[in-house]
Symmetry: C2
């Protein structure tokens, strides 16, 4: 028998797959999954199963379809079940017989519909245990990985575009939120390593997946969307260890009383009070965010910049108002923007005009040059008064050489001494492209002071997490 | 002599303008202003002033340039001064002589550079009082209004694109933030009525401008960016009255201790503690926001939807996770999402399948149809349990007819019974266009639950403001 981790790995890299409930009718879930697997260029064999194939020649997108699992040839690594809930138990029996080790149950109609669904889940799980089968789902989207050429998601790529290859993995309890996260990543040009939607999680849960991703070399940051955690102790134990290896970011919905009520309607699970979750995440070294947008702001920072060694941030700006707003935003996240020492201010004034304020923020004003930005950044990178830098070059300022200042920022970032984050105003296509180039070069570039502050706050928080003594 | 309001109006609708310090050198501030006035199709006469015109033929973009104000013919409504600070006093003398009623001093180099600058400001103001001149600035961008064909901003439109005609007016202390607001509006396709950057505000200040905009028929919402308020009593008195006529939204930077320090470096003014500002805004009926993004989320709601009569919000969604996140976001803004009464739930279940949860959120699930959305919206619009609705149609769901559901939403909104707000996931260009169409039809459509909740929270807040008894 496989080790547990190999078995979970097979949800992402099966050698061949059976799709039980594959359909030739466009728009049907059982059809979309076939389409997406073909579009993902899945290199292994696809065994499509539909009982209609017993009576007639049945092909889906030119792929031969079988009436039953029994008719399929060689061994199968993964079965995807997309048939009505009442028939799932029978399909599972077939998987046991065929000795299929991994099953994704996409079908809904279980716990979320009431007590009968709970009973059915129990029976399915019993059968799985008997057959040494690991189950993802039911009531889920399954897995996606552009590098592994797998895509079991029944959301058509025409309306939910998929991100390219990257270093973020994401695990979600909600399929609709998962789909939104995917399309958000696509639109923001952020790549994904692995994605899993686990739905009702009768077997494989968020803890198992975090545990698996801890050792996954392609994953640099693990993201989560959760509404409830069934096995809290397990989750904390796994995260406490895994969060030292790579950052774990969680969107935990059901923060409010009303939200908690909505969770129990939505998933049929109890959400518990939010303060307990906050304490648990804190203990587990998990970084918590509120929204999908905030998740990506944080993930962008954590996948590109080193953790900060302390919480003292300096701001270098060519627009005074942006300096003020950024200092406010840093305070919102509990970070310090200390006034620089007289000595450091003097050093800055050696090359900067006397009328530039250099207390922090360093306000290079509308007269800022790329050299001045470079000088200010390097002086702060070498100082022990500051743990991280937010640079705010207003690229629309006529006098500033945008190309030169961008280069200077990339060079400052490449020293890897302290986190370097950019905030600017994406006023034109050209400036948005410039900001994208910075991102490609490893410098997180944000459209609003508050979002940049959130990014650097995550680097400070993760710096604290990895410095914690092991228990 | 003009009434004060006519005189302030002339900053936006002068019949003709003198630009003192106009330059033929591209990239110079005195050149960009001429370019922008020409691009704005200013219908009146432009008198360009540059002393070099005394010795040689001097044209800027084909417009004749004069050596001095004295050489110009007819009366002049507005002078824009863009020369070094040390020469401003002399230019002001010319304006007094020429009996120019309005002057925008773009030049910096006053209070923000130290005590000498403060003295200079005093002298300039004395002269203005003598000549009955109203001054905007110094150290400012001046005014912009697409409807009035005026644009005195020295930020080239190639890097700071201007918004089209609309119903939001914006007043700003910081030029760089003002520029960012403009380009943000352009990119979000939000139109502007009037924009003014008042800089050091030695004469006309935020209070005067709010007072003026209160009666401006083209302005539906007034926005402000402030770092400090010099005349607090005046500001509160004006806002208390004006905020009953139209909503006033303020971004007040310098919220934190560090931010306050940055304000004093930036503008040379004292920011005061933030709690005092909070109390003042509350007393004045001003809606406070933190960021430029939040400003537009709020402005979008206030320019399109009626104020709410209470704070009880219902959420109708086709994605359960989004329902949960939206309820959390509503709680973040202090709004209620009450569980619907048994009676109302029964009424909803008369036409909705039994397994749809209708407690609030109304979860229409992935099987949602446009008819079900319409039925749920209309039932809630007619109920006295609810004061506003957030609708979350996930347009990417294959089964949902996006066009039909959009129509149903617009129809619900057009009843004007209660605010109707949309949240969806902008996963594709097609969906973003659909959301834009909703916006054009008067339905604010947001990309994240938190932003939609902010929008409806502003409608609740403004509903409270206009219901307050007059003192």
């Amino acid at each position: 028998m496989d080790s547990i981790e190999t078995q979970i790995d097979r949800f992402f890299s099966p050698r061949n797959i059976a799709i039980i409930g594959a359909s030739r009718r466009p728009g049907r879930i059982g059809h979309i999954i076939v389409e997406q697997m073909v579009a993902a260029k899945f290199p292994g064999r696809l065994y499509l199963i539909n009982p209609k194939a017993a009576k007639e020649k049945y092909h889906i997108l030119g792929i031969k379809t079988y009436a039953s699992l029994k008719d399929c040839g060689g061994p199968i690594d993964l079965a995807i079940i997309v048939i009505p809930a009442k028939n799932v138990l029978h399909a599972m029996e077939g998987c046991v017989e065929k000795e299929i080790p991994n099953v994704i149950i996409v079908s809904g109609g279980f716990r979320e519909t009431g007590p009968e669904g709970v009973k059915l889940e129990k029976k399915v799980l019993e059968l799985a245990r008997k057959g040494n089968i690991r189950i993802l789902g039911p009531n889920c989207l399954g897995t996606f990985s552009p590098k592994c050429n797998i895509d079991t998601l029944f959301l058509p790529a025409s309306t939910t575009p998929r991100p390219g290859v990257g270093r973020i993995s994401f695990i979600t309890q909600s399929g609709s939120v998962g789909g939104a996260v995917m399309s958000f990543a696509y639109n923001e040009k952020i790549g994904f390593s692995k994605f899993a939607s686990f739905g009702n999680a009768i077997d494989v849960d968020e803890g198992d997946l975090i545990d698996y991703l801890e050792d996954d070399e392609d994953t640099q940051v693990t993201g989560l969307y959760l509404e409830s955690i069934a096995r809290g102790r397990k989750f904390i134990d796994i995260c406490r260890r895994a969060s030292k290896v790579k950052p774990i970011i969680v969107i935990k919905a059901g923060r409010s009383e009303a939200g908690t009520r909505a969770v129990s309607s939505h998933t049929g699970s109890l959400a518990g009070t939010d303060r307990i979750y906050d304490a648990a995440f804190e203990a587990a070294g998990v970084i918590r965010v509120k929204t999908i947008g905030e998740f990506f702001d944080v993930a962008r920072a954590l996948t590109n910049q080193p953790p900060a060694k302390g919480n003292r941030i300096a701001v270098i700006t060519s627009g005074g108002g942006f300096g003020v707003m950024t200092l406010d935003a840093l305070a919102d996240y509990g970070l310090e923007a200390p006034e620089l020492s007289k000595k450091l201010q003097q050093r800055l004034h050696e090359k900067l005009p006397y009328f530039y304020s250099v207390r922090n923020p360093i306000d290079l004003t509308g007269s800022a040059t790329a050299e001045q930005f470079a000088f200010a950044m390097n002086t702060l990178l070498d100082s022990d008064e500051i743990d991280g830098i937010i640079v705010i070059p207003l690229f629309m300022t006529p006098l500033l050489d945008a190309e030169q200042v961008s280069q200077a920022i990339v060079e400052a970032s490449e020293q890897r001494k302290k986190p370097v984050i950019v905030v600017s105003v994406p006023s034109t296509m050209k400036i948005r492209e410039r900001m994208h180039k910075l991102r490609v070069a490893g410098v997180p570039a944000y459209h609003l002071p508050l979002r940049g502050a959130r990014g650097i706050a995550a680097l400070v928080e993760y710096g604290e997490i990895i410095q914690r003594p092991d228990e």
